[in-house]
């Protein structure tokens, strides 16, 4: 405690005043709320933790940066079971989700629910519900599902497990599409602006990269637009792409041409449809968003998910902080740690599986 106090006195001297309302001349600042850097909720002054996401507000000092990918937002695009009576939500994972009173993915502690009650499988945008021998039965839209039967249920259907009522909610099917559209619109707008500034920009580019400040207002707009549509577009991600001088300043048409001129060093072959994505020299960004070099339209894939680096030394893959992780031969990658890729490795991103072939 004594040390604590000492620290406190020290701190008063070291520019920590910014987050210290109520001290002497800073008193006027007290009236200002504190905006949570993680979820952007405005908190009353004096709150220790964000009232919404619980983030320790005082740990957000100047220069503190939140990872570009906000998992929470992406999570809202995942299918879920919602209990209308309480508002409780159970997120559904790709593949089978067990429902029951014990050790289940969707844990319903109601006595009318059996320990192992039902399984809801999420695959290819379909929802298959199966009763696994419950005592009080499983119902979809009021219709009983016989044990052993696999019933396809539509989003919006009311499901009943014993006497627990849950509604299946799926992200709108066009969410990914509209997300993509929103991004594209924003990008087009930026491109137009860039084109109009091109002559100036190119000249400037020779000396210094275009400062990110110039594009910032639009990114904010993009973010707002995206938020309104509940689309996970994160400010900062675009900034990362655009800030790279060569990408920012070349009109995109040219950029594509450049890509085509580069040789294909390797391929990602999608399972099971065999669709191929080309891996070219340098950095290959992978994600759901159209700005990536490899675009995967899978809701479980993050906007910016992973990067494959191709050089003379070989291939590496790095997860850049995705929500659902990147797996190589079933092994989850530690974010931001490159891992070498070999011919034949199996990559899993979200629900999508690829074979890496050289």
């Amino acid at each position: 405690m004594l040390e604590n106090d000492m620290e406190k006195t020290q701190l008063t001297d070291t520019g920590a005043t910014q987050t210290m309302p109520g001290v002497g001349t800073e008193a006027t600042q007290q009236a200002l709320g504190v905006t949570c850097p993680v979820c952007h909720t405005t908190n009353a002054p004096g709150e220790t933790y964000c009232c919404d996401c619980g983030f320790l507000l005082a740990s957000a000092r100047e220069g503190f940066e939140i990872a570009a990918e906000q998992p929470g937002v992406a999570a809202e695009l995942v299918p879920k079971l919602v209990e209308p009576s309480t508002g409780r939500e159970f997120a559904l994972n790709p593949g089978p989700n067990t429902i029951g009173r014990e050790n289940a993915d969707v844990l319903l502690t109601h006595p009318s629910v059996s320990r192992k009650h039902a399984t809801l499988t999420v695959a290819d945008g379909k929802y298959l519900l199966e009763d696994v021998g419950s005592t009080n039965g499983t119902f979809a839209g009021g219709k009983k599902i016989e044990p052993g039967e696999q019933a396809e249920v539509e989003p919006g259907t009311e499901l009943m497990f014993g006497s627990a009522v849950l509604k299946l909610e799926a992200p709108p099917e066009d969410a990914a599409v509209s997300a993509a559209e929103a991004v594209r619109e924003v990008e087009e707008a930026e491109e137009r602006e860039k084109l109009s500034e091109e002559s100036v920009a190119v000249e400037e580019a020779a000396e210094e990269p275009s400062p990110p400040v110039e594009v910032e207002p639009e990114q904010h707009e993009a973010a707002d637009q995206a938020e309104a549509a509940e689309i996970p577009v994160e400010p900062g991600v675009e900034a990362r792409f655009e800030a790279t001088p060569e990408q920012t300043l070349e009109p995109p048409v040219e950029a594509v041409e450049v890509h085509e001129e580069l040789p294909t060093l390797a391929r990602l072959v999608a399972k099971p449809d065999g669709q191929e994505h080309q891996i070219r020299p340098g950095e290959n960004t992978i994600g759901r968003r159209p700005a990536n070099s490899v675009v995967i339209p899978d809701l479980y894939v993050s906007g910016s998910h992973a990067v494959i680096n191709a050089s003379d030394a070989g291939f590496t893959i790095t997860d850049v902080g995705s929500t659902n992780g990147t797996f190589v031969n079933g092994e989850r990658l530690t974010p931001n740690e490159p891992r070498e890729l070999q011919d034949g490795d199996e990559l899993t991103l979200g629900q999508s599986v690829f074979r890496f072939t050289i």
């Binding site: 620290e7 406190k8 309302p21 939140i66 309480t86 014990e102 530690t334």
Partner: protein, 457 residues
């Protein structure tokens, strides 16, 4: 204020926070939480005065930030040994089953037991007696225990009747308590029965639901089951819902002893009407509270906890589902415990924060598993295992031999985790099965006490 600001237990504040990946202690201490944040300081102010102390211990002070995970939180309540002057007066109702099966010895012992209760009570206490069979009779309406002989005369007039109308019996008893209800009493009904409900409303959920309603009015029910015929699931369910105790009485001559034990327990109650509310932050869900039935809401869950006696401890084990998020320190849940404190004589509120640091470093998570919480998880799982075995025996899905094997496994776990009393109970059950006796009723009590995490008292 909060005696309870508890963040991960093992480390002291500063070291914990300094792992934040951002500048350590600095930003922490400069924050606006100067007062509430120093556990040492606040505890001194609180613990001396309040009957209860609440601690929230996380199963791991770190959680993985990059993907969803599950984490346990052990909420422990420790009652102080201090007593504020005289004991709390009781507002007690004896709800007695006088169905046909009680004829003879059992009823005679019940009368004797009621007589003991009268002897132990003082003029400040309020007593009422309700007897039920098909019909419900108020033998004695709620009144102060002044003329003890007169009350005993009433008791001695008890006679057996026909069927068992448990629901109306409980309702009548509760209304006697409610008639003189006051926060200054320990309001409690002792429900004594030897059989399944056979008249009136009989189904489990209606009866337990009504018990829950009574609890919300501050009336707790202790369930005493006698003999081999009663429904242990129902009685334990009543006790569980109500936060009262559950007893299984094997022989009629033990009835007076159990009544006395319960009464002595009631006389040392220091905190009543415990309501725990778990307020969840975004990206956090409560999966379950082991062995309890919380009610869920949008980003909160609530559960009633049993009354706590002087010098005893209770706990609740929570399992949380945590979503991925940007790395950093987060309060994933805020716990609020409201109770009536007999020491201060006031309603009290205790608070505790459940704080974890989310990191991308799996190794850090792996290296910081809290052994105390791990142990409680083992016990909770053993309790679930026991529950399955009991259910299997009752439905005859498990043969006695297999049941013994299962019970032996559970017993070993309980022994290892230091739950000696419960391990002994399981051992006794194993012996009884070998002699061909039924053990479900005892084991339901074992499960109940394991789930309450009760020690001391």
């Amino acid at each position: 204020m909060d005696s309870t600001q508890m963040i991960p237990p093992s480390d002291d504040e500063r070291t914990q926070l300094s792992n934040g990946g951002f500048d350590p202690g600095k930003t922490q201490v400069s924050g606006p939480f100067g007062q509430g944040f120093d556990p040492g300081r606040t505890q001194m102010a609180g613990a001396a005065q309040k009957a209860l102390n609440m601690q929230a211990v996380v199963g791991n002070q770190y959680a993985i930030a990059t993907h969803g995970s599950r984490e346990h939180v052990l909420v422990s309540l420790q009652a102080s040994g201090a007593m504020g002057g005289a004991r709390m007066p009781l507002n007690l109702c004896l709800i007695i089953d006088r169905s046909g099966s009680m004829e003879g010895e059992p009823l005679e012992y019940v009368k004797r037991a009621c007589g003991y209760v009268v002897d132990l009570l003082e003029p400040n206490d309020v007593l009422s007696i309700v007897a039920f069979e098909e019909r419900v009779d108020v033998i004695m309406p709620a009144r102060r225990v002044v003329n003890k002989n007169l009350i005993k005369e009433h008791i001695n007039r008890l006679e057996v009747g026909n069927t068992t109308n448990l629901y109306d019996g409980i309702a009548a008893g509760a209304s006697q308590i409610a008639g003189v209800y006051s926060g200054n009493y320990v309001n409690r009904a002792l429900l004594f029965t030897d059989g399944d409900p056979t008249a009136g409303i009989k189904d489990f959920s209606s009866i337990v639901g009504m018990v829950g309603e009574q609890k919300s009015r501050g009336i707790t029910i202790t369930a005493l089951g006698f003999g081999n015929e009663y429904n242990e699931e129902l009685l334990a369910g009543i006790a569980r819902k109500s936060g009262g105790n559950y007893y299984y009485i094997t022989r009629p001559d033990l009835i007076p002893e159990v009544f006395r034990k319960e009464l002595e327990t009631l006389m040392t109650v220091v905190a009543r009407n415990l309501h725990l509310r778990v307020n969840l932050s975004r990206w956090a869900q409560l999966r379950q509270i082991y062995g309890r039935l919380p009610t869920f809401g949008n980003r909160y869950a609530e559960v009633t906890l049993p009354d706590v006696e002087r010098g005893s401890a209770e706990s609740a084990l929570l399992e949380l589902e945590l979503g991925a998020r940007p790395a950093g320190t987060y309060r994933v849940a805020r716990l609020e415990l409201n109770c009536d404190d007999s020491v201060t004589g006031r309603p009290e509120r205790l608070e505790a924060d459940v704080v974890l640091e989310f990191t991308a470093d799996e190794n850090l998570v792996a290296a910081n598993v809290n052994q105390q919480v791990q142990k409680e998880i083992e016990v909770a799982l053993a309790s679930r295992q026991l529950e399955r075995t009991v259910m299997g025996m009752r439905t005859q899905m498990i043969a006695p031999g297999a049941a013994v094997q299962e019970l032996q496994k559970t017993m070993m776990i309980l022994q290892q985790q230091g739950k000696t009393d419960q391990a002994q109970e399981v051992q006794k059950a194993i012996d009884s099965i070998k002699e061909g006796a039924s053990v479900e009723k005892t084991l339901v009590g074992t499960i109940y006490n394991l789930d309450r995490g009760r020690t001391g008292g």
